[in-house]
Subunit: 322 residues, 2 copies
């Protein structure tokens, strides 16, 4: 049964191209790397778009930067706000500092010291809350009411999605003839932006996602045609714990061919392979699409040209899984 | 007192440009990365040429590849040989495999299993010897006598030096207006190739090297005007233990402004900074020039545009110094 017609607003390719122009002065144009060993292991030609080498170490900077530089002067003056303890918080904090506006970050008081320090280091104002979803949301509401800041959702926002789509845009500029493009899926911001770009600039390219089996809400959402919540997810890929949003789900169900789920041990194996053979640092979440290729030799992708977006590289060097 | 006129044959910029053409189909054009955090820490604009992302994880592939593809058909048919247990051995083995010729590698029988496996993995034939310099040299001589293979020195060879100079050539193509260019110095192949390229394509750029204080033979060689042997070197930068050769010394004493020595603790600090902030894996030797900038704030380079060649990224993930 085909999905119902779109009711949500979704970004157009023009939005994505404008986002690319908007963030160009601030974001890295990250390199596309290849690795003979991984090509041999998979029997494919792999092209890795290295968003782990992006500012703040993750693609999240693209969406945050596009959103912040899309704000009117009046909106910007009141600042931005979000609740996050991860890459989105750092990305928003840095983009806000670049535009010279306040960033308010709501973080659980249990967040690791290193993440608090990273966000504070970019000059953001941190408001701590109890480590529950309710406390996060109510604290954020208070901050927004008090400051008039614009709430920037980590993924369910057209400006954020358009920004994330610029990574694939750059990848297709360098490698136009991909058979497949892959991204990991958590909240779906990167995956939906990647799918929209791919559809517009390379309609024959298939879009496939990788997702941890221990946090397979997006897989189940595609199966059931309804957003499934992420209930007690358990995976080393800590960037992929959240469930899809309405906008990202609407895009993903239409434009993503399939989601391949993977076990944590394959994620760790793929992560280590990238460190050892490519000499770059990827976080577990970033290794998920490659893990999917290793775990699903049945996916009939041998001989294909496959683009993979490495989503981030933020790991604690003191706590490596190998 | 100026150094005596050159008697050794040294590569010209045309040799280096031809090397660039020769290796182009086989070597990666590695990215040049920047890092805002490191710029702020040093007060400079740093441009990192990432040879850690080169094939076999080190710049050594450039020199080995140039040498092997410079051989005549007759020479090539007899293969190449060297004694090394490090990056040069892997580089020579891979370049030989690409040309489809034999590579004979003499390695001490005490070499780590992982290095033996890497060289064997590229299809080279390993001949083991006792772990002494005499045994290495006599075993190599036997191999060369038996096979007719061409001995490829790891650095004291004009074809190797010309190959190593192509990294700086690419860096200057992307960032033409460097005030300073830096490389680490061990045997001097990378440093002398870098200096020759810099002199030809950007004569105003100053060439500065970094060297571990625990293996400061190049520093002492420049001070005394004579090649000083590397006696019982002790440093974590295990790629920089060897002493200069006659050709590399001749180039370095003329074209390198100075060598800054650094303590191992600064090397480890610089290495960790690169892993954490740039999300790329560099080996200790590669971190030496950045360490030199951190340890010598008196070097009067604040405000300068500094190119740094990251020489390699081959580390044992099971034995990290942090």
């Amino acid at each position: 049964m085909p999905p119902p017609p779109l009711t949500e607003t979704i970004p157009t390719i023009d939005d994505i191209r404008r986002a690319a122009e908007r963030i160009r002065p601030y974001a890295h144009r990250t390199p596309v790397l290849t690795c003979q060993t991984l090509n041999q292991m998979t029997g494919m030609s792999l092209f890795f778009k290295c968003e782990n080498l992006q500012k703040v170490g993750a693609f999240k900077f693209r969406g945050a930067c596009n959103t912040i530089f899309s704000l009117s002067e009046e909106e910007a003056a009141r600042g931005v706000a979000t609740h996050s303890s991860g890459n989105h918080a750092q990305a928003l904090a840095l983009a806000a500092r670049i535009r010279g506006i306040p960033a308010h970050i709501v973080m659980p008081e249990t967040s690791p010291q290193v993440k608090q320090a990273a966000v504070a280091g970019y000059g953001a104002e941190i408001t701590f809350c109890k480590p529950t979803l309710e406390a996060r949301e109510s604290t954020l509401a208070e901050v927004v009411a008090r400051t008039g800041a614009t709430f920037v959702h980590p993924y369910n926002d057209v400006r954020v999605i358009a920004g994330q789509g610029t990574a694939a845009l750059e990848l297709f500029e360098e490698v136009p003839d991909l058979d497949v493009i892959m991204a990991p899926v958590g909240g779906g911001g990167l995956l939906s932006g990647t799918a929209l770009t791919s559809l517009a600039v390379s309609p024959a390219t298939r879009v496939i996602a990788g997702e941890p089996a221990g946090a397979d809400d997006a897989y189940r959402s595609l199966q059931t045609g309804q957003i499934q919540p992420s209930v007690q997810p358990k995976t080393i890929a800590d960037g992929l714990l959240t469930s899809l949003g309405e906008i990202t789900f609407a895009i993903i169900r239409r434009h993503v061919e399939k989601i391949l789920t993977v076990q944590d041990e394959t994620i760790i194996k793929a992560m280590r392979l990238v460190w050892e053979r490519m000499k770059i640092i990827v976080e577990p979440s970033a290794a998920v699409p490659l893990a999917a290729l290793l775990e699903h030799p049945d996916a009939e992708l041998r001989g294909k040209r496959v683009g993979i977006i490495f989503s981030g590289g933020n790991v604690d060097l003191g706590k490596l899984p190998f």
